[in-house]
């Protein structure tokens, strides 16, 4: 029996898809899991694969056409079946103008009669032995994705598109082992085909260079790409670098760690730097500002965005009112935000509306670097590693601890002299941490 195939929902949030390219034409054989078409969804171009086998009898949508989920897109059935009635039904009762099966009319009628006879006898045998009716290893024709509850939970959490996954359980049920590899690959709408590793060695021995491993962009990757391109292309960056004496800050931290030992709490150099930045922003509020088109907004709050590396990229949770919080409170908050960032549990509002950013690559032994501004914030501080260095103090060479920091400024908001004053203020705080108490 021929049937109309509707456009599946190819991503959890898809409410419209553009039929980018047909992979089959009328008359082509279709096997289960064959690619029928490529469809652009809100997230990516997805493969639309067949749950049915048969022959393509009609295409009901043109390339480039925008379609709602479940919109009729093609008819699949037995070769030679007359589908004009189905096509008319699909077109909402309109006269079938779409392409019809290429077979001549007379043979179509004849084979339709034959196939209906076959169907009748199949129905009889099905009634006699119902167990034969559903082959155990095939997905049911309903189009419903069969997946165990834990797979559905993982799909929700990792944004997996289960339609792209082949189930290995009974009746094609998708079970946990079928998605384990997708989950460990980071999830996010990963289709069934894109995670397969390239056949590298075979290709090399055949004299062909191996193809790259193609990974579709995750939502996070897309956001990073969009925002940073926008920042570098539209925000006039300039950079100011100073070298700080890190010894007082390290000494302060050592004292705090000792004091907090019994409470089993810790503060890091980074936590102290958040506090130091917040203090410096209070002293030089011109750096706590955003360029907003026809005005500059000088913020009356100090909300420090902290760059946190996660598996897929980076996020910037915000420590609100860092100037009014103690270092321990900041430390706890950063720890909690970072943990949830790694678990992808941060809410969008927790990453929005910072007024200044801090990015620290010291733990990777980076000496210094220039960070990209996180718009609409006016500046970002990039922190390098603490270095052991010989320094001259009172005319004597002694061992010292140094740390290089670079302020990236949006020149529309912060001029060179202002940025320099802010760094002076920062130096004052970092090299005399006790002033954070003020």
């Amino acid at each position: 029996m021929a049937k109309i195939i509707g456009l599946p929902k190819l991503s959890p949030t898809m409410d419209e898809g553009v039929l980018a390219r047909w992979a089959k034409k009328v008359g082509d054989d279709v096997a289960v899991d064959d690619i029928l078409a490529e469809v652009e969804t809100d997230k990516a171009t997805m493969e639309f694969r067949s749950f049915d086998r048969g022959v393509v009898l009609a295409l009901l949508a043109a390339e480039g056409e925008s379609l709602k989920p479940d919109a009729p897109v093609l008819v699949i059935g037995q070769r030679g079946e007359d589908v004009s009635a189905l096509v008319a039904k699909a077109k909402g009762g309109a006269v079938a103008a779409a392409p019809v099966a290429p077979a001549a009319d007379s043979s179509a009628v004849a084979s339709a009669a034959v196939s209906s006879g076959v169907a009748a006898s199949a129905a009889l045998s099905a009634a006699a032995a119902p167990a034969i009716a559903t082959p155990a290893d095939e997905a049911p024709a309903s189009g419903r994705v069969m997946a165990s509850p834990v797979v559905r939970k993982l799909a929700r959490e990792h944004e997996l598109d289960l339609r792209a996954v082949r189930g290995s359980g009974p009746h094609g049920r998708i079970v946990k082992r079928d998605v384990d590899v997708l989950v460990s690959a980071g999830g996010a709408s990963v289709g069934g085909t894109s995670v397969a590793p390239p056949q590298g060695f075979a290709a090399i021995s055949g004299g062909v260079r191996p193809a790259p491993r193609i990974e579709k962009l995750s939502q996070m990757r897309k956001t990073i790409a969009r925002r940073l391109t926008e920042s570098k292309q539209t925000v006039p960056h300039f950079y100011l670098t100073i070298d700080l004496d890190a010894e007082p800050l390290l000494a302060a931290r050592a004292q705090l760690v000792l004091a907090l030992e019994k409470q089993k709490e810790k503060v890091s150099v980074n936590d102290l730097l958040i506090k130091a930045c917040a203090t410096a922003l209070r002293l030089v509020p011109e750096c706590n500002a955003s360029f907003m088109g026809d005005a500059i907004h000088y913020h009356q709050r100090v909300d420090v965005s902290v760059a946190v590396a996660v598996a897929e990229g980076l996020v910037t949770p915000v420590v609100r009112d860092a100037d009014r919080k103690g270092v321990l409170e900041i430390a706890r908050e950063v720890r909690e935000l970072a943990a949830r960032a790694r678990d992808k549990k941060l809410r969008p509002e927790e990453m929005m509306d910072g007024t200044f950013s801090l990015s620290n690559l010291g733990m990777y032994d980076i000496e210094s670097f220039g960070a990209v501004i996180n718009p609409p914030e006016g500046a970002i501080l990039a922190v390098g590693a603490v270095r052991d260095e010989a320094i001259v103090r009172d005319g004597v060479v002694v061992p010292g601890k140094r740390m290089r920091v670079t302020l990236s400024c949006d020149h529309r908001v912060v001029d060179g002299a202002v940025g320099a004053r802010w760094l002076q203020a920062l130096r004052g705080v970092v090299e005399r941490p006790v002033t954070m108490l003020l």
């Binding site: 165990s148 509850p149 834990v150 797979v151 939970k153 359980g169 079970v175 946990k176 082992r177």
Partner: protein, 328 residues
């Protein structure tokens, strides 16, 4: 730790509680002069005398009723059924008196009685003597139902049961009485709380829930499955009423799969109750339907080859685990 048999563990619990509390007495068929049908009460008459260890005629309804009455007026009777099959004769005393009087007297009467004896198939004692009676008793609010699978649990749970102010149905096993296991020293006075499950074996791929004799079947199956790389966690609820949801559900959330093994029939009972709890409280963690391995739905045959078909076996547990882990 020393190892003793299940039978000796039950006896120690009785002896320690008889010695500790003068209100405790033991009553039942052949508990005294014959030293117990399964030698659980051996030596207790000689040590505590006929006031504390009381032989009865073959009259379960009568001595179960005496137990309820004695408990109502402040004693702590331990009533032995020679097997739980015979409790059917005394069912009315347990259902309508032991389980009801606290509520129906508005709390004026507590009924601190323990009914105990062997439950389940004793191998080749045929249809009328092979019942697992737990499905009947777990259905009754007002009762504790306890089914220890190891000597340590038998001793610790029986001591708690005797001290508790509520009526307790205490299910032992004829094929368990010879099982040896670690038990703390005499007079260590270990009381194991009612209503707490125990993880008998830790694993990652599937949770097998089993109690009583089938606990050992499950542990044997877990050893077989380990060789093929399937890691089984075995959870023993120990108390069937109330059931410890928390431990079972936590385990299933870890393993994503669950098989329940029990020696009662399929329809109803603790086995079905556990499946209900798991599907309700761990739905989003399940990777497969919860399966059960249980007695076939027939009266127990006498012939040993047929009995082996009816009772849960290691092979059937292995098969069920392989199904929920999609290995067959």
């Amino acid at each position: 730790m020393r190892e003793i048999r299940y039978r000796e563990a039950v006896r120690e619990a009785l002896a320690e509680e008889l010695a500790r509390d003068p209100r405790v007495f033991v009553m039942g068929e052949e508990v005294g002069y014959y030293n117990g049908a399964y030698k659980v009460t051996e030596g207790l008459l000689a040590r505590f005398g006929p006031q504390r260890v009381v032989d009865t005629p073959i009259a379960e309804a009568g001595f179960a009723g005496i137990g309820v009455g004695a408990a109502m007026v402040g004693l702590r009777p331990v009533i032995e059924f020679m097997t739980w099959n015979f409790s059917a004769v005394a069912f009315d005393q347990i259902l309508n008196n032991a389980a009801k009087l606290y509520q129906m007297s508005g709390g004026q009467y507590k009924v601190p009685v323990v009914f105990r004896g062997p439950n389940g198939a004793a191998r080749q004692v045929a249809a009328q003597h092979s019942h697992s009676m737990d499905p009947f008793y777990v259905n009754i609010p007002g009762l504790y139902v306890v089914a220890p699978g190891t000597p340590r649990d038998a001793k610790g749970l029986l001591k708690t049961a005797i001290r508790d102010d509520s009526p307790v149905v205490f299910l032992e096993g004829e094929t368990l009485y010879g099982v040896k296991g670690e038990v703390p020293e005499v007079d260590a006075d270990e009381c194991i709380p009612l209503g707490k499950a125990r993880v008998a074996r830790e694993g990652t791929d599937v949770t097998i829930v089993a109690w009583g004799r089938p606990l050992h079947t499950a542990l044997d199956a877990a050893r077989v499955l380990e060789e093929s790389g399937v890691s089984c966690e075995v959870v023993d609820p120990r108390t069937l009423r109330p059931l410890d949801h928390e431990t079972i559900v936590a385990s299933v959330k870890k393993t994503n799969r669950c098989v329940v093994v029990h020696e009662h029939w399929e329809h109803g009972g603790t086995g079905a109750q556990i499946v209900d709890v798991v599907q309700r409280e761990a739905f989003d963690w399940l990777d497969a339907p919860v399966l059960r391995v249980h007695n076939q739905d027939v009266p127990m045959p006498y012939a040993v080859n047929l009995e082996n078909v009816v009772l849960p076996t290691v092979e059937r547990v292995v098969a069920a685990v392989e199904r929920v882990t999609y290995k067959r």
